[in-house]
């Protein structure tokens, strides 16, 4: 592998590249889908190839191929140079990369059981068993499930002298019960997050117990009354807050968006560079960290796709916005001397973009359990899991639903309500944060398929938090009839 990488880098240099890197990747994906005690899909996918990225005449060029041999590596390196030269005709300023030491290293997800070595029969049995448990509950008409296992093997080499091999594993289970009544249908999913773990994730959960409980909750949701509009205090569980953080903080603090690089598709952000160190993003309880270090979180790596060693950094400190996510190319635009390590490409055939690392909310410093937080709430709603989600292109106005929502009345959890969502403006919402549970309640969650860029790329990232309370947020009702 090193020979091929060196050939690519030497060819690029000899044709005029001031910088070049190559990523040789092999992705493996196993997907099993079941519905109603039937297995509909057992699929195994393998995808191998390489991408060469160069800087020539001060501009980026990129080319890729799935044919991994010496001739093709040389052809693609030359093609990448040609592409860079075409780009350089419309260059605002030459690309400059923040310095980063050279590394020769190997990094692997800390897994215990390689999911691809677990017999397929075992996975199929689990799906059939959980389907069956869900369908036992009166009112459940459909039960769906998938198990998705991924391996991402990457070999990165650059003209800076890095040679880095990484092997990442992901496990993503999903089980959903669908309750159907005469004029409504509602779903509820088992709340277990995808993580960078092996099959031990599957074995750590009592799926049968959760299947019954989840199916019962789907039926409760079907029978629940429509939620009313108005202002309520919200307690958001980590399973739910995950996506709210992702959309209203994660994307909003991407430097490429702030610079206008994503203006045509994903949009820009209200968090402009002049606001660094000044913007009151939220209440003083709001401490947001970016990193690629949290064990088992979805964006955790040894090195990013620029070859930058994983690191941790503050994004929001005591409610004040203090730092963007950056790459080697972006760092200089905010006068920083080094990258925050946020480059990621979803394939060997994709150009690395600035993508979110794990972005998480620090737990509260004072001891506070979820039970205590609920006991301290008079009139609120408790949101669990992800539901409908939408946010504008500058990350001001958002609206989120949940997988399940319960009323909180006088310090106690009450009835479930359905068809509700909350709508707010990012800084108003985070300004209303008045309690964050302490570290015992902190959980790893994440988003498995986040789209960005043109052509579109999909990434995954962790968003951990402890249950948190937001005061007097606007609730909208999504009920009604045709």
């Amino acid at each position: 592998m090193k020979d091929l990488a060196e050939l690519a880098l030497d060819t690029a240099k000899s044709k005029g590249a001031s910088y070049a890197d190559i990523r040789i990747c092999r992705y493996r994906n196993q997907y099993i889908f079941g519905r109603d005690k039937r297995i509909e899909t057992t699929a195994d996918t393998e995808d191998v190839g390489f991408g060469i990225r160069v800087i020539a005449n001060g501009a980026w060029g990129f080319a890729s191929s799935c044919k991994l041999d010496k001739d093709e590596v040389q052809r693609i390196a030359v093609l990448a140079i040609e592409v860079a030269k075409a780009s350089s005709r419309l260059l605002r300023q030459p690309v400059e990369l923040a310095p980063e030491p050279a590394y020769e290293d190997h990094w692997q997800s800390p897994i215990q059981k390689n999911p691809f070595k677990i017999p397929m029969e075992k996975k199929i049995d689990l799906i059939l068993k959980v389907n069956g448990e869900m369908l036992k509950v009166n009112g459940i008409k459909v039960a769906t499930a998938f198990l998705n296992f991924n391996e991402m093997w990457k070999y990165f080499a650059s003209t800076d002298g890095s040679f880095i091999e990484q092997d990442l594993f992901f496990t993503y289970p999903n089980f959903t019960a669908v309750a159907v009544g005469p004029d409504d249908s509602q779903t509820r999913s088992i709340q277990v997050p995808p993580e960078q773990k092996g099959y031990e994730l599957i074995e750590s959960v009592d799926w049968v117990e959760l299947a019954g409980k989840t199916a019962e909750e789907a039926v409760q949701k079907l029978k629940a009354r429509q939620g009313a509009e108005g202002k309520k205090d919200l307690i958001l569980l980590p399973s739910h807050l995950c996506l709210t953080m992702h959309e209203s903080i994660g994307h909003a603090t991407e430097l490429d968006r702030a610079l206008g690089w994503e203006a045509d598709m994903a949009g820009t952000t209200f968090v402009t560079p002049d606001k660094m160190g000044k913007l009151q993003y939220g209440s003083p309880l709001m401490n947001i960290v970016g990193d690629k270090l949290i064990p088992h979180a979805l964006a955790t790596v040894g090195y990013d796709d620029d070859g930058v060693k994983a690191r941790r950094f503050d994004i929001i400190k005591e409610g004040i916005f203090v730092g963007y996510q950056t790459t080697r190319e972006l760092a200089r635009f905010v006068n920083e001397k080094e990258s925050k390590g946020c480059a990621f490409a979803d394939s060997w055939s994709s150009f690395p973009l600035q993508r979110m690392p794990n972005i998480w909310l620090k737990p509260g410093e004072k001891p506070l359990t979820l039970d205590q937080l609920i006991a301290d709430t008079k009139d609120g709603l408790l949101f669990d899991g992800m539901g409908s989600f939408s946010i504008d292109q500058q990350r001001y106005n958002f609206q989120f639903g949940g997988d399940a929502v319960w009323e909180i009345k006088n310090g106690k959890i009450g009835d479930m309500v359905k068809n509700v969502a909350y709508q707010s403006k990012t800084t108003d919402f985070w300004g209303s944060l008045d309690a964050v549970c302490s570290k015992e309640a902190w959980e790893n969650w994440g988003v498995f398929g986040c789209g960005k860029g043109e052509p579109g790329q999909s990434a995954r990232m962790g968003h951990s938090s402890a249950p948190s309370r937001f005061r007097q947020v606007n609730i909208i009702s999504a009920g009604g009839k045709l």
Binding site: L259, N397, Q423
Partner: protein, 442 residues
């Protein structure tokens, strides 16, 4: 990587010949794309992308296994067949698995492959982008966008003799011009890159960017709106995504009527509305191949407001004693002979919407969607556009939109800003459209 039909067919036949007696389906697809992104009046990234995929599906009665690899070496093919075979062995029987289809006859469709698109170079993309950026700079605007050209080929063969080969090109151009508190967008998708008028698209985005500066505030509420074709395309796609008969029969969709019944045959929307799919439609042609290799024919979904067809998978069709109706590859909505200007002239008070963004389901039982306006929202008074207004979040159902249509323009090929796909749709004048909250975004 694009393979010509002779090469690809020979490859598939060889795989079949080497696995005699095996019930299987094999497919090869490949694409070659080049794309250039720009932002802040400069090219940011530029790349060439090649992909290849070999798909092997082995069935053993009611059991099935699938393997996909991206190599065509003998060893890789052997490994893929072996993997699919092994997966089929361990898969339990799926009572809903339908037998493979035999040979099918596909309708002729207009040309989908244009060498001018396949051969379009990074230099020519750069030429177009340089022109757009010069135009933007002269008006003190910042241009961002994306220009992609490429070709695609796919073939499939199964052990019962079903075979097809399709080859197509696609070009996609999008630009957003921003500055001074205004933003404008325009986009086009065509099989033939020569039809992409980048100059016109940049003029449109530039005009909207200038016109949308200094928006006045307008409160949320129900308004008469004129939805430009890009906004309509997205709503119609979301409607189409939810047209499955099974979900309707199972009581899980806005098309459910309870007790296993659905709204097929019901007049659900305005009698002015007719929506259909047809791969042979010249303005938005499509592959004539659907689920499991079924031929795609002209299918009317809504005729004069009445639901005429739902999507029936092969299994569900058999269970319900109907013909299968595959998921469509294109959408065509009939309109009227008006122009968008005619719609504006007829409006006493209303809101003109350029496009939508971030559309998601809120309640599938009434197909309630949420999303936002973007890149140009304008107030109309006494038949004239008077000034720009703020962006909104909407919470609204396309069913209500199609119930409340008052007037339509002549349909055009338009790309949905959210879905990124082309449909042939008119602009719509719609009463009582629900803007639920204000967005400060520009």
């Amino acid at each position: 990587m694009i393979l010509e039909e002779k090469e690809i067919k020979g490859l598939l036949e060889n795989i079949m010949a080497e696995n005699p007696g095996k019930e299987m389906s094999v497919g090869v697809s490949g694409n070659e794309r080049g794309s250039t992104r720009f932002a802040n009046n400069a090219i940011t990234t530029n790349g060439v992308y090649n992909r290849l995929e070999l798909y092997v599906e082995v069935t053993k009665g009611k059991k099935r296994g699938i393997a996909v690899v991206n190599e065509l070496s003998k060893a890789a093919i052997l490994e893929a067949v072996h993997r699919a075979d092994a997966l089929a062995d361990v898969a339990p029987e799926n009572a809903e698995l339908m037998p493979m289809l035999g040979p099918q006859t596909y309708p002729d469709v207009p040309a989908l492959y244009f060498p001018s698109t396949a051969d379009f170079s990074p230099g020519r993309r750069a030429d177009a982008i340089i022109a757009v950026n010069e135009k933007a700079k002269k008006r003190d605007l910042s241009a961002a966008g994306f220009f992609e050209t490429g070709s695609y080929a796919s073939a499939s063969l199964n052990s019962k003799g079903l075979y097809y080969y399709v080859k197509a090109t696609r070009s996609y151009y999008s630009n957003t011009l921003r500055g001074g508190g205004g933003s404008g967008w325009a986009s086009a998708e065509e099989e033939n890159v020569d039809k992409i008028a980048t100059g016109d698209l940049s003029d449109r985005a530039l005009k909207t960017a200038l016109d949308s500066r200094a928006p006045k505030s307008l409160a949320p509420g129900k308004y008469t709106v004129i939805l430009e074709p890009a906004a309509v395309a997205d709503l119609v796609f979301f409607l189409g995504y939810n047209f499955a008969a099974r979900e309707a029969d199972e009581g899980r969709s806005f098309l459910s009527l309870g007790e296993g019944k659905n709204r097929l045959g019901e007049k659900l929307v305005s009698s002015q509305i007719t929506i259909y799919s047809d791969p042979a439609f010249p303005e938005v042609p499509a592959f004539p191949v659907g689920e499991d290799g079924l031929p795609l024919k002209k299918t009317v979904w809504i005729e004069k407001g009445v639901i005429k067809n739902l999507i029936y998978t092969r299994y569900w069709a058999e269970k319900k004693g109907r013909e299968p109706v595959p998921f469509p590859q294109n959408i065509i909505m009939e309109g009227q002979i008006n122009t968008v200007e005619d719609l504006i002239k007829s409006t006493e008070k209303g809101v003109l919407v350029s496009r939508f963004w971030y559309i998601r389901d809120l309640n599938p039982m009434i197909l309630l969607l949420t999303g936002l306006t973007r890149d140009g929202v304008f107030w109309i008074e006494n038949g004239k556009v008077t000034h720009p207004v703020n962006n909104f979040r909407f919470n609204e159902s396309p069913v209500n939109v199609l119930k409340n249509v008052e007037m339509m323009s002549r349909p055009v090929r338009a790309v949905g800003g959210e879905t990124g796909r082309s449909a042939f749709v008119p602009a719509l004048k719609v009463k009582e459209f629900n803007f639920a909250s204000v967005s400060d975004a520009v």
